[in-house]
């Protein structure tokens, strides 16, 4: 008889899926690597240096905060700080000095994340708040630090034409001297200020929305933040996340759909003449739509809530692009929607199975 052996007690269920927080975070890190390769290709070794500085600063800050608060420091290595560091770096121009991403990451971790209680408790996306902090503190560096994309050929870096817009046309404008390094969204924003010069804006926009321009945007052959330009590489990462069961598509699809819809609606000069594809591929929409709006902590948990969040962020992105003070609205739109998350969750709580609709 084996009788009377004693066993541990625990509440059911006794088994669990293999998914865990650490695995999710490292999966996101892996999914962000293709974009890093693109950054290296188009912006050179400098991009890698900035990313490394940012990630290092994020992890170090996390470790220091935990140490200071006497909490288990192994949280610093759960991958979430690495994700924040990567995303922060992906959101700064490749021409900024090294201390910019370091400062941004430290702020993101210390103020946006740890000050609110660490993993799972932050209100807004840490990387985006870090970026907002940088834009507010160093507006010139953060909005003019663009480097023109280049490519490697026979061991040398060569220029590529970035916006699909002919330099001859743009050099007419004094403000656009350094246009080879400006972002397509910068150019688009400029065209909105040419309302008094009939024809000129249309011509430039036609170039921006041209096949060649869209192709450059898709590949990443344009000026922009370190990790945001190459749609194809970001999409590769997103596919990986979907296959790993990490990415739930309600948020990305509602966001991209909303950007496309409103981009078409008012993303050109008037109404119904914007190019949805341009607005999806330009700026940070692909990066934001698959890697930042999908930050689980700061977005709604309900299914309906995620769709509302995505549509709202898409609308805000396009409003900022068209009428706002910045050429790109992706990060601010997500930050603003983050603040609405608790409210969205409250009002989208699903009706329980078999729960009768209450009248009044």
């Amino acid at each position: 008889m084996t009788g009377n052996r004693m066993f541990d007690l625990a509440v059911s269920p006794h088994i669990g899926s293999s998914q865990n927080t650490k695995r999710i975070m490292w999966d996101v890190v892996i999914a962000l690597i293709p974009a890093l390769v693109a950054a290296f290709w188009f912006f050179g070794p400098r991009a890698l240096m900035l990313v490394a500085a940012s990630v290092g600063a994020a992890v170090l800050t996390e470790w220091l905060c935990l140490k200071f608060m006497k909490r288990p420091v192994n949280f610093a290595f759960d991958g979430s700080a690495v994700v924040t560091g990567l995303l922060l770096a992906y959101n700064v121009p490749s021409g900024v000095p090294w201390w910019i991403p370091v400062l941004g990451s430290a702020f993101a971790i210390a103020v946006a994340k740890q000050a609110f209680g660490g993993l799972g408790h932050n209100i807004v996306n840490p990387a985006l708040l870090g970026r907002a902090f940088l834009v507010a503190s160093f507006p010139v560096l953060m909005t003019a630090g663009w480097i023109a994309p280049m490519e490697w050929k026979d061991g040398h870096r060569i220029d590529v034409q970035s916006c699909g817009v002919s330099t001859a046309l743009l050099s007419e404008s004094d403000e656009l001297d350094a246009l080879s390094g400006a972002t397509p969204l910068n150019v688009l924003k400029q065209t909105f200020s040419w309302e008094g010069e009939p024809g000129r804006g249309e011509e430039v926009r036609a170039m921006l929305f041209s096949k060649q321009s869209l192709k450059n945007l898709f590949m990443g052959r344009v000026g922009g933040c370190i990790g945001e330009t190459s749609a194809i590489m970001l999409l590769l990462g997103a596919i990986y996340l979907v296959l790993r069961g990490v990415l739930e598509l309600r948020l990305p699809l509602s966001y991209l759909g909303s950007v496309a819809l409103f981009g078409w609606l008012f993303g050109g000069s008037g109404w119904f003449n914007g190019n949805p594809l341009f607005h999806l591929l330009a700026g940070g929409v692909i990066l934001g739509g698959f890697f930042m709006i999908t930050d689980m902590v700061t977005t709604p948990v309900t299914k309906k809530g995620r769709i509302i969040f995505g549509i709202g962020a898409g609308l805000l992105t396009m409003v900022i692009r068209r009428w706002g003070g910045y050429p790109e609205g992706c990060s601010y739109s997500i930050l603003l929607m983050n603040l609405g998350t608790p409210l969205i969750d409250r009002y989208t709580r699903p009706r329980a199975f078999g729960e009768v609709k209450k009248n009044g």
Partner: protein
């Protein structure tokens, strides 16, 4: 095959049924001493009618029914009562039981068989099912006769036989469908005739194609169901098969449905056609913590340790001993506890099989929301519970939770969601009782 149906939500844990699904049911003799709990069914325990020293016959009543939601308890053996005492029960507490020294298993006392049940009175059949002590064999152990006595004015038009067995590891119902097919069909027909239902259906997950085929060949209407946990939960099964939604806090009879487990059908057939009271059941013994997983036909009151021996004994380190399936089963602290009418399986789980993680902070990924078959927001309820905000938990729908465990299973942070929600439920109920008092 007809269209595969399902409920909405849920998850799909590894089945692990291959350990025991091929093992034919082995009938075990009664052990030297049986410990027959008087509270094997849901509701009031039976009142003991024997005392130490009494001789009892197999099938004789040792505990009589004590109220409406209650059942009588019968002796599984011929023998002598040693003690009437409290013993450890699978549900983590102790309960009254009659301890009997086995003398033989031959003969005994049965009720008068109702061979011509097609023409018997409904009340006679219901009474037989009651006096034979038949309760739901799927796990919840609700007295079957109560489900067969719908209140005035309620019409039942659908009888669903539950052959889903969605809990991983368990194969007892699967084997029963293959090996006790005729009894199952007879029991199903008896239940249908009692309820006045003309075409009962049986719901089976598609991971048991042999059972589906066999029953279809016998002319039974089978609904094939997607392999998705918790497909066998009563309300989910009803939704999958009929599309009807049982109101929250309501019962299947509110939508004209009665659900009975396949094992219950067999018990009903035995009680009616052979007059045999409910004293045995088929149970699975599995997990990597036993040498030879299998399915066993045992008498109630058999200690779990005897079943483990029958399955080749323990193997390696056993992290957890579970009565039932791994999703909703109850961890037992001792294998001295007896098998009851509701014991669908005994699992000896090795450390590699048990999820044993430190609870991390909620990362609000929403996976629990995506899978909850009852459309709850488990993470919110659990957080309210952790902070002792019972009213918030109640408002968030804590009382709707059936503790199926799907949320805890998928939670990447390893949160003990079910535990927190169950805690909230008991606190909310305690507060409600306080208010009433």
């Amino acid at each position: 095959m007809s269209k595969v149906k399902s409920f909405a939500g849920g998850t799909h844990p590894p089945g692990n049924k291959e350990h025991s699904s091929g093992a034919a049911v082995v009938r075990l003799p009664a052990p030297e001493v049986v410990t027959v709990p008087l509270c094997q069914h849901l509701g009031a325990p039976s009142k003991p009618v024997v005392k130490p020293g009494d001789q009892v016959l197999k099938g004789s009543v040792i505990g009589e029914q004590n109220g409406f939601i209650s059942l009588p308890t019968h002796s599984p053996v011929n023998g002598k009562v040693l003690r009437v005492e409290n013993v450890p029960m699978p549900h983590m507490r102790s309960g009254p039981a009659v301890v009997i020294k086995t003398e033989s298993e031959d003969g005994g006392e049965v009720y008068e068989p109702i061979t011509d049940w097609e023409h018997a009175d409904t009340s006679e059949l219901v009474n037989r099912i009651r006096e034979a002590g038949v309760c739901g064999m799927g796990g919840a152990s609700f007295p079957t006769y109560v489900k067969l006595s719908p209140p005035e004015g309620v019409t039942i038009d659908t009888l669903i036989i539950n052959g889903v067995e969605c809990e991983p590891y368990l194969t007892a119902d699967h084997r029963l469908m293959l090996e006790r097919t005729q009894d199952l069909i007879t029991g199903m027909n008896i239940l249908a005739s009692v309820l006045g239902v003309t075409d009962p259906v049986i719901g089976i997950e598609v991971n048991k194609p042999d059972a589906i085929k066999l029953l279809q060949e016998k002319g039974v209407k089978v609904v094939s169901l997607r392999v998705q946990y918790p497909q066998g939960a009563e309300k989910q099964l009803i939704s999958a098969v009929t599309g009807r939604v049982v109101p929250a806090g309501g019962l299947p009879l509110n939508v004209g449905v009665v659900v009975q487990n396949v094992g219950t059908c067999v018990a009903v057939a035995e009680a009616v056609c052979s007059g045999m009271p409910s004293i045995r059941r088929i149970t699975t013994v599995s997990g990597l913590g036993v040498n030879k997983p299998g399915n066993f036909d045992v008498c109630v009151g058999t200690p779990v340790s005897v079943l483990i021996e029958a399955a080749g004994g323990y193997q390696g380190e056993v992290k957890r001993l579970v009565s039932g399936g791994p999703m909703m089963g109850i961890a037992m602290f001792t294998d001295a506890a007896p098998v009851t009418k509701g014991t669908s399986g005994i699992l000896a789980l090795s450390p590699g099989e048990v999820r044993d993680v430190e609870e991390g902070p909620c990362i609000r990924c929403g996976k629990c929301v995506d899978v909850c078959p009852l459309n709850l927001v488990p993470c919110t309820i659990a957080t309210a519970s952790e902070f002792g905000k019972w009213e918030d938990a109640e408002k968030a729908g804590a009382l709707n939770c059936m503790a199926c465990g799907t949320c805890s299973y998928v939670c990447p942070a390893g949160r003990y969601l079910v535990q927190h929600i169950k805690r909230a439920q008991s606190e909310i109920r305690a507060l409600a009782r306080e208010r009433e008092a």
